[in-house]
């Protein structure tokens, strides 16, 4: 691999968009090329600095009001059930109709999973903004669990893991993959863990996979028709520990 190629591909590597084979090729080049190694390090530093600066803007309240006013107002007596609303959004596997062209696309990871992981991280970031983290504040699973009932087709399992070192702090409704889904929120020390739970037609059990995106770790697994994404700035080892504890508590619940 030449430096010219590497200087483009290191970005896809940093962004987690390269498939395993090409990622390895870029890594091999970087191991043997001081020039590209320095560049990569600097790009990562800039990226980290960007992630830590708040570069977003908040929409003015007046804008929100103007948009609200322009839309037809809801009729309170005719409020449809949450279920029928959700059915409107069940658009299945969201494969983009716009196919990528060009050879470069072949080296990229090509999956919905990547897109959803991106959304999950965005949702995690949104939740960290002031006042966005929790809709129902409680350290009691018997309060959080019923709160979800009626708000979602399937309520996420809510498990108290305080004894295992992860404090349940509440729950929230969020939007991922154009659907409303449940997020159960835990804390370890000052670190927030969002556990996103979505229903899936596929009941196959998928063992955990840990990945890193935007400086956050994601532990993803599936069990009994539910997809789970645990997202946190905790280290991969501690996030894995969280997932392991959660899964064994789930097993204990089912068996017990």
């Amino acid at each position: 691999m030449t430096c010219e190629e590497a200087e483009v591909l290191i970005h896809a590597l940093i962004d987690g968009e390269l498939d395993a084979g090409h990622a390895r090729e870029v890594e091999v080049h970087i191991e043997g090329c001081a020039h590209c190694a320095v560049l990569m390090k600097e790009y990562q530093e800039i990226r980290q600095a960007i992630a830590e600066s708040d570069l977003r803007y908040k929409a003015p309240l007046e804008l929100r009001r103007k948009i609200e006013k322009a839309l037809p107002q809801p009729q309170p007596q005719a409020a449809p059930s949450r279920r029928s609303v959700l059915r409107g959004f069940a658009m299945g596997s969201a494969v983009s109709a716009m196919a990528a062209t060009g050879l470069v696309a072949i080296v990229l990871r090509n999956d919905d999973e990547q897109r959803i992981e991106n959304e999950v991280v965005s949702a995690h970031l949104r939740s960290l903004q002031a006042g966005h983290l929790i809709d129902v504040v409680s350290t009691d699973q018997h309060t959080v669990k019923p709160w979800f009932n009626g708000k979602l087709d399937v309520s996420p399992p809510v498990i108290d893991l305080t004894a295992q070192g992860f404090t349940l702090i509440g729950g929230r409704l969020d939007y991922v993959n154009a659907r409303e889904i449940g997020a159960v929120v835990y804390k370890r020390r000052q670190h927030v863990i969002n556990l996103f739970v979505a229903q899936t037609a596929n009941t196959e059990r998928k063992t955990a996979k840990v990945s890193t995106l935007q400086g956050f770790n994601i532990r993803r697994w599936s069990d009994r028709g539910l997809n789970y994404w645990a997202v946190s700035d905790l280290g991969a080892d501690e996030l894995s520990e969280f997932g392991d504890k959660f899964e064994s508590a789930m097993r204990a619940n089912k068996e017990g």
Binding site: A12, D15, A51, S53, L55, A78, G102, S122, N177
Partner: protein, 185 residues
């Protein structure tokens, strides 16, 4: 700003609110970076939401955020076109601009020297100073967390173009970062 009678469907409006309004801050942020003007950004986002509502019946996914962004981007491009005739035109590189090899202009920094950290306002200024279409690509990736494929859909370009634009955007930002660092000394 009035939605016509055939659009006056409260159930549709309800679904639209639930699906689209959570992304209002995201849309406003993108418009701020694309237009670099608070009032224009506000107008563009308002127009975007009205257009999105009109086309909401035909919305089939994939995800709401990139779908809204694609609409917003078109609204912003119309605004660029309007400004082109105004005295202060927005600079925009020609489409071939991203073909310039970036490896010719990456200044070397001494190894082990950490890049300096800047405050949020400085970083915003550096990002806002990037030329189009690199700024757009950069903001969609780094601030909006879109995947390459989603960016390709929003900007209506191949994924390969997203990759080269992003590489160039980061190279430009890195140069600007180093220059700012030099100046701050």
């Amino acid at each position: 700003m009035v939605v016509n009678a055939s659009q006056d469907d409260p159930e549709k409006a309800r679904r639209f609110r639930e699906a689209a309004l959570p992304y209002l801050d995201d849309a406003y942020t993108l418009a701020r970076y694309l237009l670099r003007d608070a009032a224009d950004a506000e107008d563009a986002v308002q127009e975007c939401y009205l257009r999105a509502y009109k086309h909401f019946d035909s919305y089939r996914g994939p995800a709401m955020k990139p779908w809204l962004f694609a609409i917003l981007r078109n609204v912003c491009r119309a605004e660029y076109a309007r400004r082109k005739t105004a005295p202060t035109a927005v600079e925009e590189l020609p489409e071939g601009g991203d073909q310039t090899p970036m490896w010719n202009e990456a200044p070397e920094t001494p190894e082990k020297q950490m890049l300096r950290r800047f405050d949020g306002d400085t970083v915003r200024r550096l990002v806002a100073a990037l030329a189009e279409p690199f700024r757009e690509t950069f903001v969609l990736r780094e601030i909006q967390n879109l995947s390459y494929r989603e960016i390709a859909d929003v900007a209506a370009v191949p994924v390969g173009t997203v990759m080269s634009r992003l590489a160039r955007a980061r190279a430009m930002l890195r140069s600007a970062w180093l220059a700012e660092q030099e100046q701050a000394k």
